[in-house]
């Protein structure tokens, strides 16, 4: 079956991202496809390559990256909402350049795109599951 997942909260503050990751991992292990994970609201903060948790704790961002969720074109299907991302300081190189910001923090396992990707995921998947606060 084809799953889509929406994550509404950032790493560590709420369990939502951990739960979503465990769900995604289990779905893949059971032979299902995760066609897209859409990060919305504070969920965009899961995509930061600056994240440095303590050694003895899980690394939420690397957990997501380890799932290696990509589409047929090889693009990441860990998708970060652009509007939510800019508002919260999550930038890829292109957005940073466009806005004359020095530096960027998007982890390469993720990509930034529009809200249409969430609706599309709802249409194209068999099930969309929301994880939030």
């Amino acid at each position: 079956m084809k799953f889509a997942i929406q994550v509404n909260e950032g790493p560590y503050q709420h369990q939502a991202s951990d739960s979503a990751f465990q769900f995604a991992k289990a779905a893949i292990e059971n032979g299902h496809e995760i066609m897209r994970v859409f990060f919305y609201h504070d969920g965009v903060n899961n995509a930061s390559r600056f994240t440095l948790p303590p050694q003895d704790d899980r690394h939420v961002v690397n957990n997501w990256a380890s799932l290696d969720i990509k589409n047929a074109d090889g693009e990441p299907e860990l998708v970060v909402c652009v509007a939510a991302a800019l508002r919260r300081g999550m930038l890829d190189e292109s957005e940073a350049t466009k806005n004359s910001i020095e530096g960027n923090n998007l982890h390469p396992a993720f990509r930034i795109s529009g809200l249409g990707q969430l609706i599309e995921a709802g249409i194209q998947s068999d099930r969309l599951v929301v994880f939030g606060d």
Partner: protein, 98 residues
């Protein structure tokens, strides 16, 4: 439908709102702090009938993390994440009472 509830009914109203609008064929899965609703406590009557009908599930990992595995209310069915996935497959549309 599968309804997930991730908050304690002592803290929030989301379980009550779920119960107000859940139809006769739907099931509830407690995850995260929602598993507090699966423990035997002053709010257990909220879900007793649904549980007796086999329609209330709780995520084992979250139950264990809260130290309440020996204190569950009657008729709660435990599932792991793989079982969570199966519930989503089986019950169609997923409603998250975040």
């Amino acid at each position: 439908m599968l309804h997930t509830v991730n908050k304690s009914s002592f803290e929030r109203n989301s379980l009550q709102s779920c119960l107000n609008t859940i139809d006769d064929s739907s099931v509830i899965l407690f995850i995260e702090d929602g598993v507090i609703n699966a423990a035997n406590n002053a709010n257990s009557s909220m879900i007793a009938d649904l549980a007796a009908n086999g329609r209330v599930f709780a995520l084992q990992g979250d139950v264990d993390a809260r130290g309440i595995s020996s204190k569950l209310a009657d008729n709660i069915k435990l599932v792991d994440y793989s079982g969570f996935v199966d519930l989503v497959v089986e019950h169609g549309t997923a409603v998250s009472w975040v």
